[in-house]
Symmetry: C2
DNA sequence: GCCATATTTAACTCAGTAGTTGATAAACCA
DNA sequence: TGGTTTATCAACTACTGAGTTAAATATGGC
């Protein structure tokens, strides 16, 4: 149930993208994820909730810690959407369109 | 605001994604773009402004009309970011392994 | 049971955004 | 010229979202 609205909205925030970058290197706890940022742990906790609701992370339990792990499916889905809208407007297509346009004007 | 902030934020709205889908088939005017939606032309005009500020569309002039064209560069940038953050060890590797397995069975 | 650590929840502020209606601007047409 | 079409701007409402501080919850060590 990967929702593009939620995925793109989650990716629109630089803090959340940095968290994803960090998690691409391996799982981490909220405390570890908060460390590089000048915002409170509570704010990070909210960001993690957004990422979780978008399906971009899953969370485990290790004593008091709630380690986060990246979940790639929503990234794949959004990449697929972008690719589907990119291929039709790539350079070859633009050139073809331009050629047809020119042919219509000067037969 | 980074370009990625603006691009992903623009892509997070279903109306704007539908507009992009429409524009992938060729350029269109605000009036044409507004037609499928149950919202006012003014609201569409705001959406187009968001897309323009994100660099996702460019606009021309044809009499009273302001035809919109898709601009693919921001889509490329966001696709690049996503591609760089897919976890390359788990699922991707599994898919490759499956592919190799299939190739071994049916050369 | 009690205390420290790690994290979440609650309540609030502030800014931004999606939508509305009404007015305005620009280009064509008769 | 005056009227029509096309699109934007202005002002406003309602909602969402990122951040805060303070309180609550969960877990392990003693």
């Amino acid at each position: 149930m990967s929702d593009l609205d939620a995925t793109f909205a989650a990716l629109a925030d630089p803090v959340r993208r940095a968290i994803i970058t960090r998690l691409a290197a391996g799982e981490a706890t909220p405390g570890e994820l908060a460390e590089p940022f000048p915002i409170t742990l509570q704010a990070i906790s909210k960001h993690l909730k957004v990422l979780e609701r978008a399906g971009l992370i899953t969370r485990g339990r290790d004593a008091q810690r709630r380690p986060c792990r990246l979940r790639p499916e929503p990234l794949d889905d959004s990449a697929d959407w972008i690719a589907a809208h990119r291929t039709r407007t790539d350079e070859r297509y633009d050139r073809l369109e331009q050629l047809l346009h020119d042919m219509k004007e000067r037969p």
